[in-house]
């Protein structure tokens, strides 16, 4: 039987880091795209789109990501649709993050004081001009801290993709723990790597916040 050094454990874990990062990026980009679309709908047609968008948000916020993954991965297979773990994980994480991003960003737009709408109305600006020139730039600033928080959540949630056999950090650590019989070392190391990724994101967020502060 082989002996594994601590470096071997880390080396193999680090090889899985890119997959965690890819998955996070796909989830964030997909989530952001979907939620921007939903926000446009919600602001353009508040009456017609308001309820469906709210339902969508409630549905995906109110069910565990794990169940969504099971349903998509195994459910689609039962229906005869072949999926890959990467596809299922990307889809579920995107939908899941889109629900949170939609709600957060919607709140940021509403948080821009009413007086800003009134002042721009009184100057004769049209609704789309008010939105584009006055409200969205201010909402964007407000949205940085909660969005960074969500990105950290997304990174940690990618660990659930291990359940459908996608080899990212968590799955890699399980494999290594099984091979080395040193679960404490493997899981400890992986927790540390997650922390480094998430902490870096928070630091970038803080820097960005400072830069755009008025």
């Amino acid at each position: 039987m082989n002996d594994f050094t601590t470096w071997d454990v880390f080396r193999n874990l680090l090889a899985a880091v890119p997959w965690t990062i890819y998955l996070s990026l796909i989830a964030f980009a997909g989530g952001a795209a979907v939620s921007l679309l939903l926000l446009c709908l919600r602001f353009a047609f508040p009456r017609a789109a308001g309820t469906p968008v709210r339902l969508y948000v409630q549905l995906f916020q109110g069910t565990p990501l794990l169940m969504q993954l099971f349903l998509v991965y195994f459910g689609l297979a039962l229906m005869g649709v072949q999926t890959t773990p990467l596809f299922a994980a990307s889809l579920c994480l995107s939908v899941y993050s889109s629900a949170y991003l939609t709600e957060t960003w919607y709140g940021c737009v509403l948080a821009v004081p009413k007086g800003q709408w009134e002042a721009s109305s009184s100057l004769g600006l049209k609704h789309w001009q008010q939105m584009l020139l006055i409200v969205l730039p201010q909402a964007l600033r407000l949205s940085v801290p909660p969005t960074v928080g969500l990105m950290v959540q997304i990174v940690k949630n990618t660990s659930l993709a291990s359940i459908v056999g996608f080899v990212e950090l968590t799955r890699a650590s399980q494999i290594i723990a099984n091979a080395t019989f040193e679960p404490f070392l493997a899981y400890g190391a992986v927790a540390f790597i997650y922390f480094v990724i998430c902490f870096s994101i928070s630091l970038c967020g803080r820097h960005l916040e400072k830069r755009i502060r008025i």
Partner: protein
Amino acid sequence: MSNLAPSAALAPALPVSASSGAAIELVGVNKWYGDFHVLRDIDLTVNRGERIVICGPSGSGKSTMIRCINRLEEHQQGSIVVDGIELTNDLKRIDEIRREVGMCFQHFNLFPHLTILENLTLAPIWVRKMPKKEADELAMHFLAKVKIPEQAHKYPGQLSGGQQQRVAIARALCMKPKIMLFDEPTSALDPEMVKEVLETMVSLAEEGMTMLCVTHEMGFARQVANRVIFMDAGQIIEMNEPEAFFSNPQHERTRLFLSQILGH
């Protein structure tokens, strides 16, 4: 109460320039917030060049009334005609009226993410389609007029309250409005900053701007108003020239109100 230097040109009040038609005409205006009747049968004609001060206890509907004039609030009954255009739900008309009516708010409502200069040029560029260079010159002209041209490249948050309110006045003036509405422009200011804002408003009055001003600055009312209106519970209770309004109020409620705000 601020102590403004009496301006000879305005004492007691300038005669109203008698050019064509009313600037604003409210006839039988009623408004409700749910069950609450905020405006009751408001009739008011404001002539061109006329300056009207509106006072009254809080909740009396004075802010609501002037906010109806540029459709920040919708009235449910009666008619409002501004500069010959009747306010309806027609968005085109509302935009047309808003281009001619400037407004200043109690809390300034400057755009915090834009510089002072950008605050001023935004509407001329996007609404009047003015070239940027021309808009910049216009903005600097009005900033000089409110005596803060040196602040052009700062952000609103870096200015004092009095300076912010003067910027807000300049921002409205950049649209070259025919009518200016002021909604308690000095109520959110520290006492030592009230004067600089009132002086700006007085100089605007001297140029013949049509002004409707909700304020409790009775010194200002005496100095520049052609008429003072007292409102209570959604009604215009009393309307008179400032001299008569202050020295000989007709209604008990006006007397009570004046004794409360002038008494200290």
